[in-house]
Symmetry: C2
Subunit: 235 residues, 2 copies
Amino acid sequence: MITDGSIAPVAALLADPTRVGILWALVDGRPKPAGELARQAGVRASTASEHLARLLAGGLVVVERHGRHRYYRIGGERVVAALEAMGALAGPAPSSGYRQSSAARAVRHARACYDHLAGALGVDVTRALVERGALVLGNEQYEVPPEGAALLADRLGVDVGRARASRRQFAKACLDWTERSYHVAGALGAELLERFRALGWLEPAEGSRALRVTPSGRRGFRDVLGIDVLSSRYG
Amino acid sequence: MITDGSIAPVAALLADPTRVGILWALVDGRPKPAGELARQAGVRASTASEHLARLLAGGLVVVERHGRHRYYRIGGERVVAALEAMGALAGPAPSSGYRQSSAARAVRHARACYDHLAGALGVDVTRALVERGALVLGNEQYEVPPEGAALLADRLGVDVGRARASRRQFAKACLDWTERSYHVAGALGAELLERFRALGWLEPAEGSRALRVTPSGRRGFRDVLGIDVLSSRYG
DNA sequence: GAAACGCTTCGGCCGCGACCGAAACGACAC
DNA sequence: GTGTCGTTTCGGTCGCGGCCGAAGCGTTTC
């Protein structure tokens, strides 16, 4: 919102395919060195460096220096939201009636939004954890009572203490547009996603952002959280 | 969502201040002729025409021909959502901690989202109408029972029949990000906003989009809908 | 019919920016 | 120290696109 007329410069940052490619390579939340981003975007290192400098100045990415590498991360969920809004503008045919593309359905199934778990699965996981007393919805964020922490550690191997020690917001309650419901984000959301990956319940699909539920993941979600991944919601 | 990598061309449409100015002049939902848009954007008619042609090709605006005029309208709520997402990217300082600017607060107070009433006031109006039986929330949209139509006509002068006859969706339930609650949109939402304007309850503030509640509006919202505009929600 | 008006198309000018290769700048390894 | 590697900075080329004025097209008015 707000925006006097000043959105043009930041929109210009998204107006170049190379820069969009760089951002798209970063939406999974993992930091990546400039060289890899250059390779993925299909340009020389010098060109990518210029793009990264502009994205940095615009706040769309942030840097961390590690030795002689510079790791770039996405600049925040606002950036992902903007990418998705632009995608909604570019995706559907200009005609008014919009229907979901198969790609959209695939992504909807389970996806890594920024670096926490969003989409239908993220909402269901969050609800299941609330039902089991592992999460309590407070003001704009979730809390984890002591018995909840034990449950998360025992059943899922989640290290709540580590998430709490992070400098990031602990367990933000994030509203998912398409699901119209909350899911847990922040440090705890990232930790959950990391555990699901480590447990082999989720694995990256071939296409960039989507996550696939593995057979063992189906069992895990059903037995531990009571979520039936085969239900119609995920069709 | 979706977005293979194709968002760059549509982002380029928002990368020019003149085009953004044109779109910004259209977000209130009223159709405007090309000449007026050129004047508001501060360019010659020929330049504006080129911009409008590009916006049209991208689906960001639509045209209607009336006599020798061509009236342009905004291309849909998706466009407004994209503008707001870009504004969220441009507005807050690059540093992480985000706080609302005074402009944001002013706009939040009451605003014309697309052409229906959104923001805190839109949500409250919708809730008040639901409480009084004028609206019933159905599946993704509101319905107006017969006694509700009578109430809307008597107390506010809203012509429900005309809204129902419109080719637009009648009374879509639209989720407001910042308020995290529904408000009524579609033809009925536009009709409501029009009535509030005609009654003199709302008037445009100096800054483009914001709407101001007039003194008589304060009385009206309180007496007819039980909404206290002075409450802290609107601060 | 002619004239006025709204809008679009065309030609030309100018500047921004995307790209690359070469060179400079660190950080690490030996 | 020297060499190597990841990254940034610099110079130069090239094409895209925003801007205007003039001309063209369609509509309304007299």
